[in-house]
């Protein structure tokens, strides 16, 4: 049986793992290669590395770091941040990335998703969406690391992205990110029960129960978290054991 996935996320800035609250107030959380290898040995199912400064500072994701990560970990990993062309993706895959995620660049140029899926296959194209619930109770797409609001609904963009060839959706709720009050169950459920591709829920993990809810109630295929792992508030083996007890299929 296909298991649900637990995915630690490492936000990278200047080669270090960092973590902020609601996309702000960034603090240092360690060496990404060491952390990645530790999580892999503890039973993480995948890793995500996001170069969070890439889009704003128009930098390219650090291929050298990706290469180092690829040498040291034996589970799949996704790399994102500032990817805007076939050449960018080719370089990252050449350096050992298994999948890449696109966000702002894909929104501004949706044909990028189509081109990447055609060139590399949908299975390695993850569409990352930062979304925020506004006072009108609708979830809108945000760009540039959550700094720019659009008028597009999250559900519409996700569907369009999948139609264009995205193989997975990485959904981050800005309302929940960094709060440790739980995942955004409504928008996660809306996507994971309507889209034909896996949905990775992100933002808000603070307890084992939050993971249980996002898998059982919101039907997420995978759950991503950062600070609770970085600061050892929840250890992956304990998390997976507890979820397995609740009837959620886990890999050991």
């Amino acid at each position: 049986m296909l298991t649900k996935r637990i995915i630690p996320c490492l936000d990278i800035k200047d080669g270090r793992t960092v973590k902020g609250i609601n996309f702000e107030n960034i603090r240092d959380a360690g060496d990404p290669v060491e952390l990645g290898a530790l999580y892999a040995s503890q039973g993480a199912d995948e890793l995500v590395f996001l170069d969070i400064t890439a889009t704003n500072e128009k930098r390219k994701t650090l291929s050298a770091l990706v290469n180092k990560i690829a040498h040291h970990i034996n589970i799949p990993f996704t790399v994102g941040g500032g990817i805007s062309s076939i050449e960018d993706v080719y370089t990252l895959l050449q350096n050992g990335a298994d999948k890449i995620s696109v966000n702002t660049s894909a929104f501004k140029n949706p044909s990028l998703i189509e081109a990447l899926a055609k060139e590399f296959g949908s299975q390695c194209i993850v569409l990352a969406i930062d979304t925020k619930k506004e006072v009108d109770n609708n979830w809108y797409v945000y760009l540039n690391g959550g700094k720019i609001k659009t008028e597009t609904l999250c559900t519409d963009w996700a569907k369009q992205g999948v139609d264009l060839g995205a193989g997975e959706i990485l959904l981050t709720s800005m309302n929940n990110d960094g709060t440790k009050e739980g995942f955004a169950l409504d928008i996660t459920a809306a996507l994971s029960t309507s889209l034909p591709v896996p949905v990775i829920a992100s933002g808000g993990a603070g307890s084992i129960q939050h993971f249980e809810e996002v898998f059982l109630t919101a039907k997420a295929d995978a759950a991503l978290a950062a600070s609770i792992f970085h600061f050892k508030e929840i250890e992956i083996p304990e998390l997976k054991r507890n979820l397995q007890k609740k009837g959620i299929s886990m890999r050991f």
Partner: protein, 199 residues
């Protein structure tokens, strides 16, 4: 031992190379027919699309070369699918080493539930046979990423279940193939790669 990874236009070669490095083996990545033919072991990796990969192989006569190899050959993911007889992915005739056919997962199970396609993640391998799976317990988890699958058939040496029971691995004579990615399947995958190198 000379280990060669066939270089072509279908991804994940680096991942395989690095996984081999982690178990202490260096491999040569090449499309040179002589070097491929003379290697002790050959790995035929692949992530991508079947028809463009087959076209690429044919343009370089690698299709005939692969079929003629006598040493142990391991196809991975798309590599394994290309070693089958036919793929539904853009109606592609493949190398025909394995008699199984490659089909597309349908988005619904027989009971009507939505099935996410591609299958992405860790799934169990069962009914394992041959030395490729020596000391790998049945029900071990491996990492799969695929929208197409090889049907179960006479060459099946491991199965997995995703809406349907299908071939997780195939074997015929000196040819082996895994649908999952041993290079990304943590310690289980490293053991399977080591087993292949010990054949």
């Amino acid at each position: 031992m000379e280990l060669v990874i066939i270089q072509y236009n279908a991804g994940n070669i680096q991942s395989v190379l690095y996984a081999l490095e982690r178990i202490g083996v260096t491999a040569l990545v090449t499309y040179d027919p002589e070097k491929i033919s003379s290697a002790d072991k050959v790995i035929f990796p692949g992530v991508g699309e079947a028809s463009s990969a087959m076209r690429y192989l044919k343009e370089r006569s690698l299709d005939k070369l692969i079929v003629s190899l006598q040493q142990p050959v391991l196809g991975i993911c798309l590599g394994m699918q290309l070693m089958c007889s036919y793929s539904e992915e853009n109606d592609t005739d493949c190398l025909g080493i394995f008699s199984e056919r490659v089909k597309q997962f349908v988005n619904r199970t027989s009971t009507g539930d939505i099935l996410k396609v591609p299958q992405i993640g860790w799934n169990q391998i069962n009914e394992t046979k041959t030395e490729l799976f020596a000391n790998i317990p049945s029900n071990s988890y491996c990492y799969f990423v695929h929208g197409y699958y090889a049907a179960k058939g006479v060459d099946t040496i491991a199965t997995a279940n995703y809406g349907i029971e299908y071939s997780a691995a195939l074997h015929k004579n000196n040819f082996y193939g895994t649908q999952f990615h041993p290079e990304k399947s943590a310690l289980t995958g490293e053991k399977i790669l080591s087993n292949f190198l010990s054949l």
